[in-house]
């Protein structure tokens, strides 16, 4: 450790020397130097403790950055990730400039480069890392404490956005009372919906579904009566995605092709750590409530209501089935139209209807909320301007989630907005969004369409969606075929989001998203056991009664110990 400290010190020393030299070059004579020094210190202090005060001298920070291969810049420009509308805008606002320590083409590449940086002990001033990396770095004292920087420099808007999810995001980034990261919030996707082909339902004269039996009957009719004219036996039932390590028939609420609502309708919360009946944390996948949900799925599988080939289909396979009109029923969040655009392109008569189903005993759907954060922006321990991260993020939020863009007349701002609208370049220190961003967008857009809101009173992204939705409505009024992009924006933002906005749901808050010590070693073994057994029960290879034996085996194979650790961690 002492070696590392020495390294950091020597680096710091080198850096101060360089800045000192540069400072020396700037001044011409000794006396002026001292005066500017005093002035500088004042300006430095002001910059370090306020949100919008620019630095007196350009601060260059190093950062690791995702720069996708298909990133575009305005035609004819020589912009790069270090010199773009974004960087010029930030320079004009805060006098900061990024220098990329590494650039990665995709997430995998990025994570590898972060690992490399951590392993070699040479991390950039600012990095965007996963929770695991964040924790490891913090525990090894490699991160700067951002508590003061946040208190001094976070804009009101930033605080407000974090508050939209009860500050859970900040809690995850706080260790021993100190804030070690500025987390990127996750946006709530709202309840999972059952998406059905409305044109098929009309063709077969089917009523709207309300109960589990209704769903079963509709899907059976789709599969047996073949309204899509695919040929006998070619229409598949509800697909559930088991692909790679990320997709499974449950978990990740509101993701596509999952059966979470079937479990929650019986009070089961698979893959979630939730509060059990006795008040302690329990693992949802091994609770007895799971059996009823599994019984439904196993019966449905036998009846052909569930895709018979679920175990061997990839995510893209399923997407192709839905797009080709071979599948007319699946579960997904409000964002489903983004995956359905292909089906509209192939067949403009396609009509998808969404239902928030199945409900529990209180006639409401129960959802669980997800991990409050996507990832974590951290500052290297020893970086002189830790508040730079908070300031840069505040500015981005003001111009994207706030209304600063409407009053700012500067050329840099105009260029920046153009850049946001076209997706030019790379957002170096990006922003994040409200926990309920999807619901807010619906409210703003629908009010603007109804004429009760000035279309300028919404953020830039919402505004672009509003324009897309109005284009859709215009095309429909003129009896023209709406464009694909407008079709999907309207269906996602107005149709599905309206359903989400108008339907009351129960929300269960999982109590633990982190990882305990034993988990890192034993979790995969337990997860393999869980995923294999549950899939076998669903595909009728094992009977539902085997669930109890599985739950016991899970407990004995380390689940008991991990449950205890989780309870210790949250108390």
């Amino acid at each position: 450790m002492s070696k590392k400290l020495k390294q950091i010190f020597s680096m710091l020393l080198a850096m101060t020397m360089v800045t000192g030299l540069l400072g020396g070059c700037a001044g011409s004579s000794g006396s002026v130097d001292t005066i500017t020094d005093i002035k500088d210190t004042g300006a430095q202090n002001a910059a370090a403790t306020s949100t919008y005060e620019p630095y007196p001298e350009t601060v260059t920070y190093t950062i690791g950055l995702r720069v996708r291969a298909d990133v575009a810049y305005p035609e004819g420009s020589t912009d790069t990730a270090e010199e773009s509308a974004y960087t010029r805008f930030m320079k004009s606002k805060l006098n900061i400039q990024n220098k990329n320590a590494f650039e990665a083409a995709d997430d995998n590449d990025y994570n590898q480069k972060v690992s490399m940086a951590i392993t070699s002990g040479d991390i950039p001033d600012i990095m965007n890392v996963t929770y695991d990396d964040f924790k490891e770095l913090a525990e090894n004292d490699m991160l700067e404490d951002l508590t003061e920087a946040y208190n001094n420099c976070a804009s009101d808007l930033m605080k407000e956005i974090y508050a939209s999810n009860d500050n859970r995001s900040l809690d995850m980034a706080t260790i021993d009372g100190k804030l070690y990261a500025i987390p990127t919030t996750a946006i709530s996707s709202g309840p999972e919906m059952l998406w059905l082909r409305g044109d098929w339902m009309d063709k077969l004269g089917l009523e709207e579904p309300k109960t589990l039996e209704d769903i079963e009957n509709i899907v059976k009719a789709f599969v047996k009566q073949d309204p899509g004219e695919n040929g006998a036996g070619k229409t598949v039932g509800i697909p559930l995605c088991v692909d790679g390590d990320t997709n499974y028939i449950y978990g990740n609420y509101s993701g596509a092709y999952k059966a979470n609502n079937i479990f929650t309708s019986f009070g089961a919360y698979p893959e979630q750590w939730v509060e059990g009946k006795d008040g302690t944390a329990v693992y949802g996948s091994v609770q007895p409530e799971m059996k009823q949900g599994l019984q439904v799925l196993a019966d449905w599988y036998k009846e052909g209501v569930i895709d018979q080939q679920l175990a061997v289909r990839t995510y893209d396979d399923i997407k192709a089935l839905v797009t080709d009109g071979k599948c007319g029923s699946y579960f997904c969040g409000w964002w489903a139209p983004y995956d359905l655009a292909g089906s509209y392109e192939l067949n403009p008569d396609v009509e998808w209807r969404a239902y928030i189903l199945p409900t529990g005993s209180d006639n409401k759907v129960t959802m669980w909320s997800g991990n409050p954060n996507q990832n974590y922006f951290v500052v290297r321990k020893g970086f002189e301007h830790p508040e730079l991260l908070v300031k840069a993020k505040s500015i981005t939020l003001d111009y994207n989630q706030g209304d600063a863009a409407y009053t700012d007349e500067s050329a840099e701002c105009k260029e920046y907005l153009d850049y946001v609208a076209h997706g030019y370049g790379v957002e170096v220190i990006g922003g994040f969004d409200w926990y309920d961003a999807a619901a807010r967008a619906y409210q703003h857009i629908s009010e603007a369409i109804d004429g009760t809101r000035n279309p300028d009173e919404m953020n830039a992204y919402e505004h672009s969606l509003y324009e897309s939705c109005t284009k859709y409505l215009e095309a429909v009024n003129n009896k023209e075929k709406p464009e694909k992009a407008n079709w999907l924006d309207y269906n996602a933002r107005m149709v599905a989001s309206k359903l989400m906005n108008d339907t009351e749901v129960n929300i269960v808050q999982p109590v633990f998203f982190s990882q305990t010590d034993s988990m890192s070693l034993m979790w995969e073994s337990l997860r393999t056991l869980e995923r294999t057994t549950i899939l076998k029960i669903v595909t009728n290879e094992l009977s539902v009664d085997e669930f109890d034996a599985f739950a016991e085996e899970w407990m004995n194979a380390g689940g008991q110990q991990i449950t205890e650790e989780v309870n210790e961690a949250i108390n």
């Binding site: 392993t119 080939q309 073994s525 056991l529 899939l535 076998k536």
Partner: protein, 296 residues
Amino acid sequence: MNRPKKQVYYHLMMLPGMIFLIIFNFIPMAGIVMAFQNFSPVKGILESKWVGLDNFRFIFSLPDSRQIFVNTIIISLGKIMLGILIPVCFSLMLNEIKVKFFKRTVQTIVYMPHFLSWVVFAAVVQSIFSYDGPVNVLLTVIGMEPVMFLGSNQWFRTLMVTTDSWKEFGYGSIIYLAALTGIDPGLYEAASIDGASRWKRLLYITLPGIMPIILIMLTMALPNILNAGFDQIFNLYNPLVYESGDILDTYVYRVGMLKRQYSLGTAVGLIKSVVGMILILAANKLVTTFSDRRMF
């Protein structure tokens, strides 16, 4: 007298290979110490905690470790056996064909799949063996029930072994075809004058002629017994067939890479290398005992 001088050139030719070997195979061996540590990337090799044999104990204490070793060995033994049998038979048959153009064309076509990555080839396998794919259509035509090949623990290993041979047999047969051309044609002439049938000639001239090559190929394949083919299985398996198809590499990938347990991954790698080394030494011994050839 000028032999050493001549050898200098040979050694120079080997030099790049040796340097490559030292940089990429010998120096990284220092990383083996990670297998005896609880390695944390932040702390690095020098400051990570020593845990002795804990990682190895953990691997063997896992409830599924026995199954994983069994799967690995069965799948890889199957691949080794089929990977010799099919190329040998194929090259013997191809060798009997006298039309040169036909021979060349067949040879080119069958070794094409070798150059496809498993990501691509897995998609081909998936569509051929899917529930509504051509194989199952054939089965239903002859009155049998369709089989979910990739979701069935009875079929998964067989499928892995056969599709691997399908992909690799063309490439594997090149070396046997080369060996076949090396057999003295005079032997065949003499045998046919003595009245030996084609079958007898195959049995007493051709097979003994390529036997040393077969043995060497076998010896070279044995150390890989714990490599059952990550690319292939990773692209084709699913939780339903973990029971029969989960191999060491896929398991280590899930535990080690996704959960970042580098020490565990290193420990498994070390086990594989040690087992491989023991096997190659043993196989070499066997080959020297039963024939006059040796590898080293």
